[in-house]
Amino acid sequence: MLPALVRKTWRDDRLALIGWAGGVAAFTGIYASFYSQFQGAAELKQDALPQGMLDFLGIADMLSPAGYLQATIFSLVGPLLVLMCAITLAARTIARPEEDGGMELMLANPVTRASFAWQRVAAAGSALTGIAAIPGILLMIIVPWIGMDIPLSNVAAASAGLVALVWSFAASPSSLAPPPENGLPSSRSPVALPWPRTWPTPSAACSTGGTGCAGCHRSTTSSAPTRCTPAGTRPSFSPSCSSVRQPRPPESSCSTAATSVCRREAGGLRFPAATSTPTRNSR
């Protein structure tokens, strides 16, 4: 039997899930079954659009069946659709119940914080995987049915790519859920949440490659927000970080590449700015 919280999460989200699944299915079905009617107009459309526009829309070739599916379903609107669904649903796992207060009663059940988080994310994640798989599943039926000349393995690969995309985006809103307002860990008690309070920006995470400033993104069990500076010392100007335009870059062994993380932490910001989309995918 599945944990009660997983079932509850699905039930609470059922209307949204049905709606999104229906929308994605309709979108896929309609576009794919228009293929044969569209063939006459395809060349016209492709010629009418300038190359830059075609590139922007991700249209390589509207004439071949694979190109048609790529242009219509897998390049722009399809991913957008499932990503919108992913971000909406992922934000509901922890951030929204925390905000509206519904989390208190769910946490009052005999579950640890970590298993609460996992059950919520697992429930939303499995539902999302299902929705993201809908285009692939439908195409598996439609493609042979209307006689499109594409190997089903290619359809499966494209579909898997869509699922992976959804996973990597769904992970960010759920992991970026702010910690409960009242649950801010105090200076002495260890971080209370099962997820790290700070994510490195993608650029910093990639460029440091886990070295240089590994201490910057230590998480979960460490006490207090970790910084590059040794505990208690104020960040002060240091020549080693002078390449960064910062009046007070943190003094530490940080490589300059990692200072974007360090700077945030030293400045007291807990989350990366909204513009930087941290990719914490399911690797």
Binding site: P97, L105, M106
Partner: protein, 319 residues
């Protein structure tokens, strides 16, 4: 003296349901609760009183590990709220002060979720509670009134017969009849050996059900008292309408009477302790109407503790 313990405290953990030692929580600079040391014995009903913002909800959230203390620690049933959270919450019935239910389920489905999450609850227990509180389980919780939501909250707190009930302002939103029913539920729970820790800002409801009250103000424990000793010092505001104007001097000298204000035929005063001397004095005149109200706890009762009287067994002269 804040944090005073009663003399008959027992040091055995098995006997103590809730224990806090120097429990302190600061939200940055803002104080939640400071230096709270409190013991609640198993099977006891303790009211947790204080004005808004005194730190009642903070304390309760600390006990449930929704917050982590800045300093000090607490144990519930001898367990650590943090380390043993899952095991502990099986034995705690919790009613939040701000009740928000997850989802838009019918009350019945919501309660089935709570039952399943707590490892199974006899459904007869749920229906019995719902019947007792006159609650319609077939309605969606989203569409319910505040009072009905509160009833759902009470049902989920009581349904698994927890060893400890932690209730944050349990009567808010309930009508007087249901408040009485709730207090009866608390008494039944106490008889069954369950420990009840309930916060409130209404003295009267706590007086009816609790064995002891702990009073907090400005984040600090002001007093822990047995309810019997509270009754003796219950302060009342009395207003008497006479037929003819009266002389204030007649009343101001009476034992326990203070703040005498006379405007024409209307006498207003507060009385601490026995009301008899005032009644006898008033009976010499023709009385048209008489109102006696228990004053607001926040205004009168707490100020009593803070204006030189202190806690403990000190009682006012003449009371």
């Amino acid at each position: 003296m804040p944090g005073r313990k009663t003399s008959d405290d027992v040091g055995m953990t098995s006997d103590i349901a809730l224990l806090t030692e120097d429990l302190t929580k600061f939200y940055g600079q803002r104080r939640g609760i400071e230096g709270l040391s409190l013991e609640v014995r198993a099977g006891e009903v303790v009211g947790f009183l204080g004005p808004n913002g005194a730190g009642k909800t903070t304390t309760i959230r600390l006990l449930l590990d929704f917050l982590r203390p800045t300093r000090g620690h607490s144990t519930v049933l001898g367990l650590d709220p943090r380390r043993d959270k899952a095991a502990l919450h099986r034995q705690i019935g919790y009613l939040p002060g701000e009740l928000v239910f997850p989802g838009r389920d019918k009350a019945e489905d919501l309660l089935r979720f709570f039952a399943a999450a707590r490892g199974g609850v006899a459904w007869a227990q749920v229906t019995a509670l719902a019947e007792r509180l006159d609650l319609d389980l077939s309605r969606s919780v989203r569409t319910m009134s505040k009072g009905n939501k509160q009833k759902v909250g009470l049902v989920q707190a009581f349904m698994h017969r927890p060893a400890v009930l932690v209730l944050d302002e349990p009567t808010s939103g309930l009508d007087p009849l249901m408040q009485q029913e709730f207090l009866a539920m608390v008494r039944d729970a106490s008889v069954a050996g369950q420990t009840v820790f309930m916060s409130s800002h209404v003295l009267a409801e706590v007086q009816q059900a609790a064995d002891r009250v702990a009073i907090v103000r400005d984040g600090q424990l002001a007093a822990v008292e047995r309810v019997e000793s509270l009754g003796k010092r219950a302060v009342r505001a009395v207003e008497i309408h006479f037929h003819d104007p009266v002389d204030p001097a007649e009343f101001s000298g009476l034992p326990g009477v203070s703040d005498v204000v006379v405007s024409g035929p209307v006498l207003k005063c507060t009385i601490d302790g026995r009301i008899d001397p005032l009644i006898k004095a008033a009976a010499r005149h023709e009385v048209v109407d008489m109102l006696s109200a228990e004053p607001d706890l926040e205004e009168t009762f707490l100020s009593f503790y803070y204006h030189g009287e202190g806690a403990g067994d000190a009682s006012r002269a003449g009371a």
